[in-house]
Amino acid sequence: MIMKKIILVLAFGWAASGISSCCKGGTGGHASLTCNVFHHAKPIPGATVYIKYNASDFPGASTSSYDAHLTAGNTSNQVIFDNLNCGDYYLYGIGYDSSLMLPVTGGLHFQIKYSERKSAETTTVPITE
């Protein structure tokens, strides 16, 4: 009887920890995600960040593979995606490093957990030549 209770508690804990994986990345939620684009320590103004909903692996370099995108202002390296659900997102940044005179790109997976479904989240998007 005690063992059954232990198993139930473990199963419950396991299920609870998996709630965030039940979230599905997309719009319609109450979370926001601020993305700051950097090449090493250098902010990249005017960078564009593409977002793929419900994805944890790199969707590819083709921008048509993404669901939405935002472009930072000429003097800013920051974009903000609003109204997001908890879940998985793949972010892909594209910019231009004027000091190297080279295009720079890079991506990362970002997860908004269930407990963060109403939070304002921030991440850096490191990009490279």
Binding site: H40, A41, S56, F58, Y90, G106, H109, P126
Partner: protein, 353 residues
Amino acid sequence: MADAEFRNTKHRIQKSQDHSFKFHFFILASVFCFLASPLFSQELFPTSEPASTMPKGVIGVRFQDEAYQEVNQIRNAATLRVMYGLFSRLTVMANFTETNHHSEDFPPGLAFHIHNGNQSIYSTGNFQRGLAYPYLFSGIDLYAKFRFLSLDGEQKHFRMAFYAEASDVNVAHDEAEPDLLEDTKGYGGGLILTTLYNHLAVSFTTGFIRPGKYEGYSPDLYGGPMIQTDLTYGKAWKYDLSFGYLLLPNHYHTYNELNLNLYLEFKGKTWTEASIVQYGFKNLPIQTPLLESGNYVDVFPGIQILLKSNTRIDLSVGLPLLNESYTHFYPVYALGIQHYFYHPNKKQDLVVP
């Protein structure tokens, strides 16, 4: 009654002068337990699982610690294991492990790139060993073992079991070699063959490990923000050979008698090269043996005492025999303390004159 299942007693119990009904009933019950799913003390290997399973309804709790010195740091992996005999042929267990083996981020130097003019050179490399890391909860490993064959004879048996395990471990493990208990998430399975003849038990375990990837962060050499780094560990095949010898007692007189077992275990593993990706699409060349494919065999001589048939204490030392693992330094000291909880109504004590 379940005490008998942890001892090689059936053929050592001397005939008692007590001819009471209760005594005879107990002897019959002991024989039944022996035939059902006995677990002999010399096959309670310190670092491997035998093909034998726990009796139904028995709960076991184990604390184990593996420690070694890495440069000036003492590394520990402490595991709490809860075991349960779900059926006479099926044992399940859950392992909860905490270690100071890793940080939450990958160490500097493991994955990086440098600029040379307009060229960027991506690489992987060795990193400083002996860094101080905090104790982190590594995760949970679930394990199940099903005994599908039992050929039992007089003071001998041969058993086979399948096992399967899955783990949800999330630490910044920085070598290709996977380990589902404390280093990498993933799943695995395999086969266990165990034979016992008189005082000697021999067991062979072989199986696969399919680790998942760890999504961590690496420091930027140029002072920028941490760079997301996905490390996919190597797929592995493990092969362990264990010998156990019941040194004491020669003949059982009581179930409370202390057992002394000697062990010699060979633990081997072969794994494939890891892969490491940064920025989502940069596959870094593997240029460190830490992330390359490899193999090794360690040897673990060990000693064990079993108290009152339900408490065991193991001490073993891991040494390299063929090649070396990069996941630990040598020697590895392993301590295990395990206790079985029997159903109170089944707990018996038998003293045989």
